[in-house]
Each structure stands twice: as C-alpha cells, then as structure tokens.
C-alpha cells in the first residue's frame, strides 16, 4: 500500500507537499538568477527597485565575455567530438570484447569521473607545465577529453548492450562486410546513445571549472573561469546576466534533447 | 435470514465510466471454500481487492460477522492473502517471512517460534526455514506465502490466482496442498481463478463472473449439470451447441425441432420460450452414446476424426446441418472406424439444456 499512490491517504498529502517543496527549492536559484539579471540594483537587492537590460548590455559590450564564451564553445566542441569518437571505439571493445581484464579496462576508463577533479587538475597542470602544453588550447582539449570520456562511454555502452548483435550478424549474412554492417546497421541503432554521449561530454567540458582555473592563461580563458574570477572579485549583476544566458542555453539544450530523442526513438 | 459470516452486499466498482463490478452480492458461510471464477476482466479480482481493502468499492458494503470492513484499513482487517505473483519479502528468510505478521502484532518470541514451526510443518517446508525466497522454486515460494498468510489464524484467506505462475504438474500438487490445508484449518477461503478445472476441483461453491456480474453461483455440480445460461454451460466443462427451434414447454421439459427436422422431447430448460423461437441445445460431449438407450434422441452424423487420450477417446463428428460435435463416448459400444456417413449417435434429452439463441 505504501507503493500505491491512491492508497496513501494523509501520507500522500504530506509526501506530495514535501516533493513540491523540494521541486521549488531546486527551481528557486534558477528562476531567481534570471529575475535578478533584469533587476536594476547594482547591489543585487531583491525584489529590485526597477527593471533594466543594462547588465546584458554591459555583458555584450565586453569583448572578454564574448571571447570566453567562444573559447568555451570551441574547446567543448572539440573535446566532445574526440570523446565520442574515442569512446565509441572503446565501447565496442568493452561490450563485445572477449578478453580478460575487460572489467578492469572499463573501471580504468571511467576513473576520471570518480577521481576528485582537483587531483587530476593539479596533476595534469604540473605535467603540462613540464611539456609546455599549459595554457594552450591543445592542453585544454586533451584535459577536457579525458574528463568527458566517461560521460561518452556510459551511454554508448548502455546502448550497445541493448542492441541485439544478431541483427548485425544478419546483415553480414546478407552480404554486408563487417564494417558496412557496423556503419549502416549498428551505428544508426545506437544513435540515441551516441547523441546522449555528445550532449553529456559537451556539457562536461563546457561547465568544467577546476581544471580550467589551472589551465587558463591571461590570453586563454573559458567562460567558467571568467565567471569564477568575477565571483571572487565581486558579485556583479553582469554575472547574473551571463548566468541567465547559460540557463537559457540549458533550456534550449533540454528541449532539443527531448525533441531529438523522441524523433530518434521512432 | 441466516446470519452469514462474510457478506458482500451490492458491491459496485466503477473506474470513470467503466463499471468493473455491478452490484455483486454474496453470502459466505464460515469455513466455506468459495471460488470466483470467470474470464479476465470479469470483475472477480476487483471484488476480492475490495474485501482486502486495496480498492474502495464505489458503493455497497462488505460485512464480516455483521461489521462493515470498509472503514477498516487493510492492516487491521486481519485477513490472509496469497497473491498471483510471489510477494514474499526478498530480504527476509523463509522463517522471518512467516514470522512477519506475528512480529508486527508484537507476539512473544516463544509463540512466534512455535507458530512458525507449525506453519512450516503445515506447508511441509520445515527444512527451508533459513533459506531466502530467491533460493526457492515457484511452488515452494507459494507455499511459504500460504504459511505466512495463515500464520496469524485469519478467519478469511483470500487467494488471487495463486497457481497461475506455476506449471501444470506443480499446480496439481499445490491444489492438493490447498485442499488439505483447508480441511485441516477450517479457514474460510475466497479463491480467484480463470481455470474452471481448478475451480471444480477445489471449491465448495463457485461464483461465475461475467462482465462484472455474477452469472451463477452454486456448487460445481450445479453449474455443470444445471447451468443457468449458455455462458455458464460454455465456460464450465465442454459443451456442444445445436441450433434448435422451440415448440412447447411443459413442467420444465421442452419439445424442440432440430435443424435436421427431427423432434426431441423432454429437454430441460429454466427459461420461458415462445413457440417457434430460435434456441440452442447444449449437449455435453460425454452425454452422447454410440448405441441407442432407453428414451434417447438421435442425430445423423458423419465421422471426422478420433483421438485417443488414454483414459478416454475424443471423436469429432459433423451433423447433417454442418455443426461439428465434440463427442466423448464412454466405452460402451462399437468404435467408429473410418469415414462413415450413415452413422447415428444418441443422447438422453434429460441431460440436454435449451437456451435462447
């Protein structure tokens, strides 16, 4: 009866109320930051004395914000592509391979997700200082690809495990070469997994702060580093404007994901 | 009126515009084994759930010894239940599962221990006390569920298709167990199934459900030998239906004309017919004879096929009107051999029933 929604009685009122409160708690900062970005108070008073777009104006007039956003997008796109391609190859091996230590390999490739980022950040920073990649785009992309790799491997292996391999074999029996069968049968079948992998690994790089703080140079900083710097300096409303744009981007991404998933799963 | 033990009074359950149960009324005496039989979606499980308290009826009442159960939450109804799927608690051992209802009732340890031992003996699983449900077969799990449901001596035991997940051999084995346990404990059992053989085998009485209503309630013999409708006749046992025309009825015995023009007298019926009304005559496969007996009607048939089942023989025949007949003659006469169009078969009109078409 505890798992029958319509037989919970007063308990349901309490639990639904609690759930609604938690949902409100989860929504609060997101909504708040968007409202705040339109408020006219330099000191972030809320409710604001008036409404304005001047923080957006300041944001868009400042080339360092635009640069940071473009740098982030460039690095995240490259890291996502690399992570998905490398992750796709690795997934075939992890799901279909028949060798000892397959689980160990899987654990190893997923470790970057579990190890505290700060440990990896100082390790890769020290390493790149030595080999001269610190503060370079290449260094950024390598570090973020490593962090994004688990986020690519998990959905792709999940999709691949759910794909019935006998369909691929049937294609081969029909005369397709193994490579053709993979490209024309298997990849389209696991496209939802690949698509999730792309989104997750893009976000893993796009939102990454800790490695970026170490890797950033005065000439190369990502959006999170720019925000981080502003937060440490002062709580300027310009950050609220930037954050609101990020919230908007998240919403777009969610909608696109939902639509694409619906379309792809047809 | 006799005071009944469990009384289901005009219970009705609607889901939106759909009426799942139409005003079902049943009185169950103490110690009875009553089966709710019917096809899926006929309202039998919904009625059982109303008694268990999983669903509130839209109207009507359920009384146990004249007290309404409806305002009593499930956990205070003191009813035992065995479910279709095994609902054993997977994190508890067999003994702990059986002890569960006693623990929540805060019975003393010694009593719990004794009762668990008794119950496991009752279902013959003494040696499995420390196993976990995952390590048991389906049949064993269902026996543990039975022990758990009986551990607190509930006056009523509900069973919701408890054997449907088991294979045929196990089903028969557990049916025997259930009969024995009913005999030994004297508990009142309400049993839901869609399997008519199971119902006939187990029950004192059967309530046959159809589209949310009780079509007929009575002993297995009542339903088999005196079906109240064509649906009952068709659902219980095997039956053949022949097109007929009603001529007249006198004292529960009707005279009819079959499709081949022959007149049959003395057919049983409980319904009123007009002269010339279209009707259907039901004859059980085993009511056919291959040789004429006293007071028998006859049919011209064509032999189609025969199959041997060890204890009986099944013959398929076709009437002149093209109706296929399932015939299971008791081995009293010459066997039919090969196609033979001139053959006749015979039946006693007193065991044939007439229903409206």
């Amino acid at each position: 009866m505890l798992l029958d929604y319509d037989r919970l009685g007063w308990l349901r009122v309490a639990l639904v109320g609690f759930t609604a409160a938690v949902a409100a708690f989860l929504l609060l900062p997101v909504v708040f930051i968007v409202l705040l970005s339109f408020g006219s108070s330099r000191w972030l008073a809320f409710p604001p004395p008036g409404w304005t777009l001047k923080w957006y104006q300041q944001l868009l007039d400042d080339p360092t914000w635009i640069d940071a956003a473009l740098t982030s997008a460039r690095i995240a796109a490259m890291a996502a592509i690399l992570a998905v391609v490398i992750g796709l190859f690795a997934s075939f091996s992890l799901v279909r391979g028949e060798f000892r230590g397959r689980q160990v390999l899987r654990g190893l490739l997923l470790t970057p997700m579990v190890l505290p980022v700060v440990v990896f950040a100082i390790a890769i920073y020290a390493f790149f200082l030595r080999i001269g990649l610190a503060g370079t785009t290449v260094g950024f992309v390598i570090a973020h690809t490593i962090l994004a790799l688990p986020f690519a491997i998990i959905p792709i292996t999940a999709a691949l495990e759910g794909f019935d391999k006998s369909i691929e074999d049937a294609a081969i029996v029909c005369g397709a070469s193994p490579l053709q069968a993979r490209l024309r049968i298997t990849l389209p079948s696991i496209r939802i997994g690949i698509f999730s992998a792309a989104i997750f690994s893009f976000l893993a790089s796009w939102d990454e702060v800790v490695v970026a703080i170490f890797m950033a140079s005065p000439t190369l900083q990502t959006l999170p580093v720019k925000i981080w710097g502003s937060l440490r300096a002062d709580l300027s409303p310009v950050v609220a404007a930037a954050s609101s744009l990020l919230v908007g981007l998240t919403l777009c991404l969610m909608i696109v994901t939902a639509l694409l998933r619906r379309k792809l799963s047809r | 009126m006799t005071r009944s033990f469990l009384s289901i009074r005009a219970v009705r359950k609607t889901f939106g515009a759909f009426v799942a149960v139409h005003d079902v009324t049943i009185d169950v005496p103490k110690g009875e084994f009553l089966t709710f039989l019917g096809p899926s979606g006929s309202g039998k499980s919904t009625t059982l759930y109303a008694i268990a308290g999983f669903q509130d009826p839209s109207s009507g009442d359920v009384l146990l010894e004249d007290r309404s159960l409806l305002s009593v939450p499930s956990h205070k109804r003191n009813i035992g239940m065995v479910f279709q799927r095994y609902t054993l608690f997977p994190h508890l051992s067999v003994a702990e599962n059986v002890a569960f209802p006693l623990r929540v009732r805060r019975r003393p340890d010694a009593e719990v221990k004794r009762k668990v031992a008794d119950m496991l003996a009752l279902v013959r699983l003494e040696n499995f006390a420390d196993r976990h449900p995952g390590a048991l077969s389906g049949g064993q799990q269902q026996r543990v569920a039975l022990a758990r449901a009986l551990a607190y001596d509930p006056p009523i035991l509900l069973m919701d298709e408890p054997l449907s997940a088991l294979d045929k051999k196990l089903r028969q084995e557990i049916q025997a167990e259930i009969r024995r346990i009913h005999r030994e404990t004297g508990v009142t059992i309400l049993y839901v199934t869609h399997d008519q053989e199971e119902a006939l085998h187990l029950s004192d009485r059967i309530a046959l459900f159809r589209e949310g209503r009780i079509e007929q309630i009575g002993t297995g013999e009542d339903l088999y030998l005196r079906p109240a409708s064509e649906f009952v006749a068709g659902f219980i046992g095997n039956s053949n239906f022949l097109a007929a025309e009603h001529l007249e009825t006198a004292g529960g015995a009707a005279t009819i004309r079959l499709a081949d023009g022959s007149i049959v007298k003395g057919v049983k019926t409980t319904q009123a017919f007009d002269r010339g009304q279209k009707a259907r005559l039901m004859v059980r496969p085993e009511a056919f004879r291959l040789t004429p007996g006293p007071a028998s009607a006859e049919l011209a048939v064509e032999f189609i096929d025969a199959a041997f089942f060890g204890d009986r023989r099944r013959v398929v025949m076709r009437t002149a009107g093209g109706e296929e007949l399932d015939v299971r003659p008791t081995s009293d006469a010459a066997e039919p051999h090969g196609p033979d169009s001139g053959r006749r078969i015979f039946f006693d009109p007193a065991v044939a029933f007439l229903f409206p078409a």
Binding site: V119, R182, V209, I213 | P101, V104
Partner: protein
C-alpha cells in the same frame, strides 16, 4: 572475436577484441595515469626524497582540521541529501506520470544548469541582506539576519542542492523495482504504514540508498567550487586547501601529499560502491 570496431585485432597479437580500446587507453594512460602517478611521486620527492610532506600534513593541527572538516561536511551533506531525496524519489516512483514529468523536468534543469550559476545564485540568496534572510525577518521568524554563508550552513545548502539529483534519480529506479504487491502483502499481514516502511520499504531500498549515499559522500569529499564560494575560511575543505597550497603557496610536495590522501580515500570508497552496485551501474548519475 568481434570486439574491435574493424575486427582483426587478434592478428596484431592483442587480446581478442581489445584493439578498438587502444586510443582510449593511450589517451587515459598518457594524460591521466602518467600525470597522476608523477604527482604522487612528487609527494615523496619534492623538495627532497622522504616522507616529510606527509609528516607535515598529519603533524599540523591546521591540516588535520581540514581533514576533519572535509569529512564532517561530506557526512552532513550526504545525510541531509538522503533524507530529502528519499521522499521525493518515493513519490516520483509512484506518482502519475504527468505530475512526475514536471518534477523530473525541474530536476534535469537544475542538474544541467551551470554549476557556477547555481552557486552564484545561492551566494546572493544566502547573503546577510539576501532574499532568504529578508523573507524570514519579514515573516517575523527571526529578528537578526542568520549567518547563512561562509559557514557550514551555506556549504550544506549549496552542496545538497547540487547532490540531490544524483541521489533522487537512482533511488527512483530502486523504488520502481520494488513490487507494490509486496507492500500490499505487508499491509494485509497486519503491518501499519509505519511498520511496513520500517520493515519492508526501507530495507528493500537500502542498497540504493547506500550506493547513492556513498557516491555523494565521495563526490563531496573532493568538491572544490561550492565549498570555496559558500564556505568560510574556518571550515576549509581538502580540495580548496590543495589548490591553495599549489597555486598560492607553490608548495607542490605538500599539495601532492594531500592529493594522494584524497585519492586513496576516494578510491577505497569507490571500490566499496562497486561492490554494492556492481561495476555496471557505477556512476549512475547520468
């Protein structure tokens, strides 16, 4: 035999089907394993060979306090997250899908929103003159603004906010896997809702709670951004200390030693989590 994308790997003398994992292995080996091992070596070689960095780490009250505080914050965050997440996951598991999908949407939105954005919002919300304090004072609940930021309360609120989706989503799966009939059976056996919860629902969801809780504890131990922005100097956590030691103090030896301690604790707990849920479902947050 058909493990690799192109098949063929066994011809190269590699274990069957391992070939297509090579790029990933190379990448992780060269740019993950090598740097991390080099860092760990640095903790016993920088500035000179020996264990003096570890002696400094465990010998100083300041650093020991950072360790204790890290464990304290991670424990509090884990406990609060479990307590808040369980009822929500419970409802999400059984609520009508139309209602549930709204809550799921909010959870995903919150989870996908930039980490700094969320933390920034809490900084503004929780400050002395922030909305929360003003609202509480307006309602007459308090007369003085509560110190909600740069202390344990601030870190807890901010971290619980971030961790909640990682607890709720896997727990919904755990709870959905429990047959509702089992709870009906418990009720008919005479168990009151409280008894059914205590003896059946809670024990059956315990594996999910333990796995999720451990994951959150591990994530909290190494968390950097939120504690650095919402916590105070008096309750600094390990990740922030490591960053400061390396970035501001340029003391690579000591920072590496602290990083090694964090790594060992994290990996040990991760191993326990793998035991609990099986390697397949590790990191079930996404």
């Amino acid at each position: 035999m058909q493990g690799s994308f192109f098949r063929r790997s066994s011809a190269a003398g590699l274990p069957a089907g391992s070939g297509s994992a090579l790029p990933a292995l190379l990448l992780v080996g060269l740019f993950f394993i090598v740097p991390v091992v080099a860092l760990l070596l640095r903790s016993v070689t920088d500035p000179e060979p020996g264990l003096q960095n570890y002696a400094a780490l465990f010998g100083s009250g300041t650093y020991v306090r950072v360790f204790l505080n890290t464990f304290l914050v991670a424990s509090v965050v884990t406990a609060v997250t479990i307590l808040v997440a369980f009822p929500v996951a419970w409802m999400l598991a059984i609520m009508p899908p139309a209602m549930g999908s709204v809550v799921f949407g909010i959870i995903i939105l919150s989870m996908w929103t930039n980490l700094l954005t969320r933390t920034y919002a809490w900084m503004v919300l929780l400050q002395r003159t922030g909305v929360i304090n003003r609202a509480l004072m307006g309602l007459g609940v308090i007369h003085e603004p509560l110190p909600l930021i740069n202390n344990l309360a601030g870190v807890t609120i901010g971290m619980v906010y971030i961790m909640l989706p990682f607890m709720i989503l896997p727990l919904v799966g755990t709870l959905r896997a429990i047959d509702p009939m089992t709870l009906r059976a418990a009720a008919l056996c005479g168990a009151s809702p409280f008894e059914a919860f205590r003896r059946i629902l809670l024990p059956l969801s315990l594996p999910g709670i333990a796995a999720g809780g451990l994951m959150i504890f591990v994530m909290s131990l190494g968390y950097f951004v939120t504690p650095a922005l919402l916590g105070g100097t008096s309750n600094m956590m390990l990740a922030e200390m490591i960053t400061q030691t390396v970035q501001s103090l340029l003391n690579w030896g000591l920072g590496s030693a602290a990083a090694f301690v964090l790594l060992v604790v994290t990996m040990a707990l991760y191993a326990i989590q793998l035991r609990l849920v099986g390697a397949k479902h590790a990191g079930g947050g996404i």
